[in-house]
């Protein structure tokens, strides 16, 4: 698997190939914790302004501007405040945070410390997906190292700034990547999302002001403080600042984690050259889902020769979204009914059951796909699936419902020829092997 930067100096990936990059010594030798020192000589407003100037947007999937999120935290709240790192990486096709957590844990600690200093936070939690147990052990050691070096705990670097760090584990639930569901889970409850407003910035963990940020979002912060928000933004485009990690999987020769400047040109070159091209030379590109499974799949003819730039605006223009940056590359051997059935099963399994449209809708979608796959497809099924998606999208309690609807709508609308094969009259659909 490849881990490398293309079109820019590695920033996020700076320590990926340095021996013992996860240790405090090596982190410091390579410039680590200098940004914290710099930030501790800045005011809270100056830090937030730098993050705003960087045009950093949340890297977990929603893409919300980070500086703005931070500015929503009330300064004068008498309650304790929290920063919670969302390390519940579970969007299918996404695995970038895993390598940051494994090989550069101090970058996350430093990013969270800078945020904590700016927002008056004294307690930070890092919420890991339960399967990432070995990464928690790495982080616990890093936190202990930082504590020994007076970077975590009381009177950090001799100042009156106090900040404690704790790791916390989930136990297998995609929904806990949604920030309010994550907070429910961190409080020891089922991972059900909560009504917004109030937003977590006002009432989050234990009903106290809370910032929830993705791993990559937080590890970007030390770079922004080091080089200045404006300069970091200029690595990318005006509205999509900096560099971003893309996880690439599926039918390519070189799957991996790639760091690209925002606005990288273009998507075709990225898949067919940078990622080594199609896995099997005689199989053509059929589709790519660029933002983790929860975005519209793109047809090859929406990519090839279309000059798609890789940033928030470019992918929307091309008919999809950045999401979490998880590229799933699919070749012509794949039946999109089969692949969509697979994703429908995922969303059904991961629907938390809290709201009816998502719980029932995803369940019915699986039933329909099962029937189609067993050879019982009917001509009206494509419309039935779209109607069902329409009854989920925008009508579910949290974005998981929308995600399921988009993944399925995209396939039905963009790959009608695959569906047609299965939706012949009188159930003569062409079911093959199960998924």
């Amino acid at each position: 698997m490849e881990i490398k930067a293309i079109g820019c100096e590695p920033l996020q990936l700076k320590r990926m190939h340095i021996e013992n990059g996860h240790t405090l010594d090596v982190y410091r030798q390579t410039g680590g914790y200098e940004s914290l020192k710099k930030a501790m000589n800045m005011t809270s407003d100056q830090i937030i302004d730098e993050v705003k100037a960087s045009a950093l947007r949340g890297r977990g999937g929603a893409g919300f501007p980070t500086g703005m999120k931070w500015s929503f935290v009330p300064r004068d709240s008498p309650k304790p405040k929290y920063i919670v790192c969302n390390a519940d990486e579970s969007e299918p096709g996404t695995f970038k945070d895993r390598y940051l957590l494994e090989r550069d844990p101090h970058a996350l600690i430093e990013g969270m410390l800078i945020g904590a200093f700016a927002l008056g936070v004294e307690t930070c939690y890092i919420y890991y997906r339960g399967e990432y147990k070995y990464l928690i052990e790495i982080m616990d050691r890093a936190i202990e190292e930082a504590r020994q070096a007076n970077l975590v705990g009381k009177n950090i670097l001799g100042s009156d700034f106090n900040c404690e760090f704790y790791t916390h584990t989930g136990a297998g639930a995609y929904i806990c990547g949604e920030e309010t569901a994550l907070l429910s889970s961190l409080e020891g409850f089922r991972g059900h999302p909560r009504m917004k407003p109030p937003f977590p910035a006002v009432e989050g963990l234990y009903a106290c002001p809370t910032v929830v940020n993705n791993v990559e979002t937080l590890t970007s912060v030390p770079q922004i403080i080091e080089m200045g928000g404006k300069e970091w933004q200029e690595l990318g485009t005006e509205k999509s600042g900096g560099t971003k990690l893309w996880s690439v999987s599926g039918h390519v020769k070189k799957p991996g984690v790639y760091e690209l400047p925002m606005g990288y040109h273009d998507m075709e070159k990225f898949i067919l050259e940078d990622c080594g091209g199609m896995l099997r030379d005689d199989k053509k590109l059929k589709a790519c889902i660029p933002g983790g499974s929860s975005v519209y799949a793109m047809r090859a003819d929406q990519i090839i020769g279309k000059n798609v730039t890789l940033d928030y605006e470019g992918l929307v223009e091309a008919g999809s979204m950045v999401g979490s940056g998880g590229f799933i590359v699919i070749d012509e051997t794949v039946d999109m009914v089969d692949s969509t059935k697979n994703l429908t099963e995922f969303y059904k399994h991961e629907s938390c059951g809290w709201c009816t449209p998502c719980r029932e809708g995803t369940d019915w979608l699986v039933k329909i796909f099962d029937r189609i796959w067993a050879g019982g497809g009917r001509p009206e099924d494509a419309q039935l699936i779209l109607d069902l998606c329409d009854n989920i999208e925008g009508k579910s309690f949290c974005p998981l419902g929308d995600a399921a609807a988009w993944a399925i709508q995209g396939a039905v609308k963009r790959f009608p020829e695959d569906f047609k094969k299965h939706l012949l009259q009188n159930g003569n659909g062409a079911g093959t092997s199960g998924s």
Partner: protein, 175 residues
């Protein structure tokens, strides 16, 4: 929802028995409480359920009774949380819990064939445990390792870039 809470076809035996743990385990459980504010000990529930599962093999009734006392919660509070999360086993599993990632990237790179292979090798279906209690095979949703698909987890350990040969060697090497 993540897990089916109750097998409605079988009557579940409810017991008031409370599990007992060695002092070192109780000490470990206490250490989890220190991460959260004093009046928020319920936050420790998921980490503590992992301890129960490690010690008892699965989330069992006496273990849940213990946690209810330990955290001063109702037994139903513990079950409510435990049954939501797919990593908590409500029934005993084999010594080696093989969890095949079945989501899209793994699927298109051959997970269905690998699962068939391992199941026929062990003589079980997905979701079942071998008679000697050694292996359980389940198919699970995305484990966040798509770049090294197809992959699986045995217990907490990741095994990546799988092939039939690799699977065979691995299974044969487990004691």
């Amino acid at each position: 929802m993540a897990t089916v809470a109750t097998d409605y076809t079988n009557k579940v035996k409810v017991t008031d028995e409370v599990a007992e743990f060695p002092e070192s385990v109780v000490e470990e459980m206490r250490s989890h409480l220190t991460k959260y504010p004093k009046d928020r000990s319920r936050s420790a529930l998921i980490p503590l359920l992992f301890v129960i599962q490690r010690e008892r093999g699965y989330i069992d009734n006496p273990g849940v009774n213990f946690l209810a006392q330990f955290l001063n919660l109702e037994v139903t509070d513990i079950w409510e949380t435990a049954t939501f999360y797919s990593m908590f086993n409500m029934h005993p599993v084999g010594k080696y819990h093989i969890q095949m990632c079945k989501t899209l990237s793994c699927k298109i790179l051959g997970e269905p064939e690998l699962t068939d292979h391992i199941c026929s090798k062990l003589g079980i279906k997905p979701g079942e445990t071998t008679k000697d209690g050694k292996f359980t095979v389940t198919r699970v949703e995305c484990l966040g390792s798509c770049g090294t698909a197809p992959m699986m987890q045995i217990g907490f350990e990741y095994h990546e870039n799988l092939t039939k040969e690799k699977l065979d060697d691995l299974i044969d090497s487990l004691e």
